[in-house]
Amino acid sequence: MNILEANHVTKRYAEHTALNDVSISIPKQSIFGLLGPNGAGKTTLIRIVNQIIMADEGQVLINGEKLEPKHIGVIGYLPEERGLYKKMKVGEQLLYLAQLKGLSTPEAKRRIKFWLDKLGLYDWAGKKVEDLSKGMAQKIQFIATVLHEPQLLILDEPFSGFDPVNANLIKDEIFELREKGATVIFSTHRMESVEQLCDHIALINKSQKILDGPKNDIRNSYKLNQYEVTFKGTLQSGVSLSVLKEEVSDMGLNKAIIESKNGESPNELLKELINKIEVHSFVEIIPSINDIFINIVKGGQS
């Protein structure tokens, strides 16, 4: 079951097309990375899902239903450009934002207390936001995003501006929410920052989706059959392998990057290596999403 499906979504502006026939499916309880460089169209897609803007063509389904105003309560959105009312007290502000999402006042108050307690901010409820440190304000923003217990959390560039301690804290909270059933979308241009968090990804470049699917499948399908070997002895290309690069490592060991010639399995490669050298380590090189992205974009250009 997919919590979110975008089918052939297109959004045009006067001078350019922000999204061109983009389709993605986001499975329930996944952590989905919406990746691509700045200006690729990620924020446009997110804004469409949040009903801030409307798609020119295509449709968006939430839990199989056509996107409607009532789905506002299903989604928790932390935009890239985010802030709070500086002159408003923390508690009042969270209450206001929760009420806008449709929570009743007593329920909202209960949850605000819970979250402020959890993130150690309870004493600050009566303070104005301008009196808070930047890190605290970020935590408040996060609380505001999750207060109404959204099924779908959309975080646009979530870790930009977060200090590492807060970033980790928020990551833990996000995993916990996922355990409880929430689905999370990370949107970022810094692919390495969320790569290890995501289980599904979609790559967007120049208003088009260029790749999507489960992260591991993608990485496997872009495997280059390359391995890093540290060893003693001398290594030369052979029947099943060719040496791409060789260098001297420390402690009298050498290091090489080898490639299988005809898609031989690691075991077959090892068999040949063992006959030639003393193998100290043997690791398959799996490309990062960033590498895959660059690869595809460059391939597309040439």
Binding site: M54, I75, P79, E81, R82, G83, Y85, K86, L97, L100
Partner: protein, 440 residues
């Protein structure tokens, strides 16, 4: 609807809870009359206390002891004009009035020339008018005497007539009216609307800008439609203005009732306070005055004026409030807002300037035209209403104003929904137009 109400509530409460609101609301009805009183007091006091000297060089000999322009001392001098011109300043005099020798033998001469006034700085127009008036009166008196009438008859010939104005009501009843009071009400209500547009219009703009600069707006519009946000804001800030207005009306009504009450003669209190030093006559005079004022107020169609005022007040507020919101959404800072403020401010200022002419001629062509155009009608129509406006004009003006503010809200809403999400765009009119036509 619930969303609009939530936004409205926040805008309202955050403002009303501020100490500055409480102070402004409670103090203005007290401070404003005090300031007006102080200005009047000091301007009269200033005049009384200044004793600049004006030298009078009267070669005709007719003008001894005629001048009485308050604020100046007159000293009669003799001698040569050229000489006096050079020396009067060093003698510490403010001015030199020269009256040439005059020939009054021919009674048919009506034009007299050659009066001159010398001073370092220009005297006020009032002073000049008084001096001219004094000279004219004196010459008129002299001519009347020459024509053979004696002073006693002359003073008997001077009369004083008062015109009492009546308005015929629809029932055919003649009601005593008072142009002075109509003027005051028209001016007062028109000016209130003017002030509120400025004060609360810029509050809306500031509020929109704050949401933009604090970057909270995208969080908000993920749960509220931009139009709802804008309307909630306009209504919320408007409700603040309305609250303030109501408190003022109540305060002023209470204060003036109490004031009139004291004037009218809570006689016992007054008597005691005066401890019989005030003659009985003065008291009855005061009572009469209070009765007159009360009667005068009773001639004014209070309910009609109040209802019209509320309507035009709200209409003007919605019309301009929406436009202010659009400007706030389009820019990144207050400085950038200036260029877009200009076309909004122009009709407001034009209205307040035209209001004086309208008060002078409440049923003239300009008055009628401006009281129909939605951008100027709130202020101009309020200036006209106390003088009486034909029903069809009032109805047309109201319909047009409703159309005007609905249109303004529509236009503003379309700019707003795009503007609030745009950062760092160098906005000009062309871009605004594009936003207006853009699909969301």
């Amino acid at each position: 609807m619930k969303q609009i109400f939530l936004v409205l509530k926040r805008e309202y409460l955050t403002r009303v809870k501020k100490k500055s609101f409480l102070l402004a609301t409670l103090l203005t009805p007290l401070v404003l009359p005090t300031i007006i009183f102080a200005i009047v007091y000091f301007s009269t006091k200033d005049k009384d206390s200044r004793h600049d000297e004006i030298l009078v060089l009267d070669e005709s000999g007719y003008f001894s002891e005629v001048f009485d322009a308050s604020g100046y001392d007159f000293t009669y001098v003799t001698g040569d004009l050229e000489e006096r011109k050079k020396t009067f300043q060093t003698e510490g005099a403010f001015g030199l009035l020269y009256i040439p020798s005059l020939d009054l033998s021919d009674i048919s001469v009506t034009r007299f020339e050659g009066f001159q006034f010398y001073s370092e700085t220009n005297p006020s127009i009032r002073t000049m008018e008084r001096l001219e008036r004094s000279i004219e009166t004196r010459l008129e008196d002299l001519k009347l005497q020459r024509s053979g009438l004696d002073q006693d008859i002359i003073s008997k010939l001077q009369v004083n007539a008062n015109l009492t104005t009546y308005n015929i009501t629809e029932e055919g009843e003649a009601k005593e009216s008072n142009s002075g009071l109509s003027f005051a009400i028209g001016y007062g209500t028109g000016f209130l609307i003017y002030m509120f547009i400025f004060v609360y219009g810029s509050q809306i703009m500031q509020s929109v800008l704050d949401e933009k600069t604090s970057r909270i707006v995208e969080v908000i519009v993920s749960s509220v439609r931009p139009f709802q946000l804008m309307m909630g804001k306009v209504l919320g800030v408007g409700a603040v203005g309305f609250t303030q207005l109501l408190i003022w009306i109540v305060l002023i009504a209470t204060l003036s009732t109490v004031g009139l009450g004291i004037l009218a003669g809570n006689s016992d209190v007054l008597m005691e306070a005066a401890s019989q030093q005030v003659p009985q006559e003065a008291l009855t005079q005061q009572q009469e005055m209070a009765a007159k004022i009360t009667a005068m107020i009773a001639t004014v169609p209070v309910t009609k004026i109040l209802l019209c005022f509320l309507f035009y007040f709200l209409g003007a507020y919605f019309l301009y409030g929406a436009l202010y919101a659009a400007v706030g959404s389009a820019v990144d800072s207050l400085q950038d807002a200036q260029q877009f403020m200009f076309p909004i401010v122009i009709p407001i200022i034009a209205s307040i300037m035209a209001m004086f002419f309208v008060l002078d001629d409440p049923n003239g062509g300009m008055a009628i035209t401006l009281s129909l155009i939605p951008f100027t009608s709130p202020i101009i129509m309020m200036a006209r209403i106390p003088f009486g406006v034909p029903d069809w004009q009032l109805a047309l003006s109201m319909v047009l104003l409703i159309a005007g503010f609905v249109g303004a809200i529509y236009v503003a809403g379309r700019i707003y929904r795009i503007g609030i999400l745009m950062y760092g765009v160098k906005v000009n009119w062309k871009i605004m137009k594009k936003w207006f036509t853009m699909k969301v």
